[in-house]
Symmetry: C2
Subunit: 207 residues, 2 copies
Amino acid sequence: MGLRELKRERTRRLISDKAFELFIDHGFGRTTVEQIAAAAEVGPSTLYRYFPTKETLVLEFVEDSLFGALDWFREQPPIDLPDGLQSVIERVLDQLEGNPDRVRTVYELARQTPSVSAHLTEAIWRWRNELTVELSRRLAADSPDQPLAGESVEFTAALAAGITMNIIEITVQMWVDNPAGTDVKELAREAMCLLRGGGIPLPAVGR
Amino acid sequence: MGLRELKRERTRRLISDKAFELFIDHGFGRTTVEQIAAAAEVGPSTLYRYFPTKETLVLEFVEDSLFGALDWFREQPPIDLPDGLQSVIERVLDQLEGNPDRVRTVYELARQTPSVSAHLTEAIWRWRNELTVELSRRLAADSPDQPLAGESVEFTAALAAGITMNIIEITVQMWVDNPAGTDVKELAREAMCLLRGGGIPLPAVGR
DNA sequence: GAAATCTTGGTTGTGACTACCATATGACTG
DNA sequence: CAGTCATATGGTAGTCACAACCAAGATTTC
């Protein structure tokens, strides 16, 4: 790795950390981008080159966790779909559990600030849509002509992706509300059991 | 109704209509609030009094459809929960089907403009959370001590609300993509059938 | 018709974000 | 090592969404 890349990572980290400090101390709305830039000892122009919007400063970590797991899933070989979704969920939860403080802070900021909340939900929504595409691909490639309870592949994929997203959101929410008494992955596993039970017509083998 | 209220409704409508015209013609980002105010022949101050943000101009209709149905549901007597959720879904879809053009325009604008998309998902997310609260209330009041497959009431409520939201989103999405060939309510009814089938442990009688 | 109340439009200010340019700094070549 | 090339940086100027405030006009109420 060249010196250039190294410095870039360092600067990015520095800006992000200083931003979180200021957000925690003074709130999102009461912190200006110029203050963050000054704290990180860079010009505002530079800051904007790394983080196109103020909200990105907060949400980059969550977004990386989500889309990292999705990228991983895309490279997995065809696999039993419920198992696949469960492993995606666990991968996301692993990432988030690695930085509990950041997760809590993000949730706190989202609760207080509408624009953060809006960008957070938008990222989750975008993630769900991309997961839908991937599931459609796997379902279509797999089932030559399965009835799927009379519904189309797109419909099933969208529903499965939506429920996957719901499980992640709900388990994380409960974990944030009660950090000590919650085993996130166990909770997600139980939730998945409900879905395997039969109601949602996930074919036993997806692709 | 006094003259004051009448004028207020008229002005609100006028601003909203002009805004949609401009958004359709020139796009969301290329239209300034001042242009909208000028087109509606009011001052920018007045516009901001009616619509606190530029995005509200676009999303008020969707938000009214969602939360109107929720308000209605809150006033319903205890009822079989799957039936209740299905009627909520149908109520939302009825509202949206009443203005197909607006719905399509909103989706179009959301697709093109990140900030509109963000505010749209945030509104949907907020709606789901309020539905979760209402479902929790009904479930708690009903079941003296049902096992609920080992999960808490909150968890079941959140999952049910999430799935309800998913069904609405998916059916509307498919309707927007293919306006002619989709019977939204029939689609939603079929989706609900899947859930009644057993996988999601909605108790047969909620409250 | 007068007083109280609400609505309006304008003014000023802040802060996020864009476009642009000159300078500095690490990277590669002879 | 010197030179040049590509990229990163910081600063400037400008746009636009939005908040706070205030004076004038319209509506309602007595």
